[in-house]
Symmetry: C2
Subunit: 86 residues, 2 copies
């Protein structure tokens, strides 16, 4: 599956969450990661996020079974170009 | 089409961009809006964002033709619950 993760978390937990998400996904922007992961990884990511944020912040996960169903456009500067989404 | 917009912009332009995006979309989190829009609105939104950010910041737009192709999960606090994505 292809996921986009967008977080809104306290500054003190940003580094920890980023470090964790980088193990699975590509950083695309401040507060956003994306990438192709397995069902097992999806489960691990959710558990990891829950452990880090402890219900104090908000993290959104958008997922699609086929990245071709999702198009991406960038306006302005591209912070970290990746081409997984067609 | 259904769009998710994630922005990473200078603090001084946040209010202007948010005010603009609220005319078309639902605020879902700091730095993220989503909603169903027409092709014409999509064009207007892109033009509006370009005008506000003037190539100084970065805005990502993810779009899908069918919101059913996209699932959303929220971890932690839900900042602004909407149920457009099934």
């Amino acid at each position: 599956m292809y996921v986009i993760i967008v977080y809104d978390i306290a500054q003190k937990r940003v580094n920890k969450l980023c470090k964790f998400l980088r193990k699975y996904l590509h950083w695309v922007q401040n507060s956003a990661f994306e990438g192709e992961i397995s069902e097992g990884q999806f489960f691990e990511i959710k558990k990891g996020i829950e452990k880090i944020i402890k219900n104090q912040d908000s993290v959104l996960i958008y997922k699609t079974n086929n990245p071709r169903w999702l198009k991406k456009e960038i306006i302005g500067k591209e912070k970290n170009p990746i081409s997984n989404i067609i």
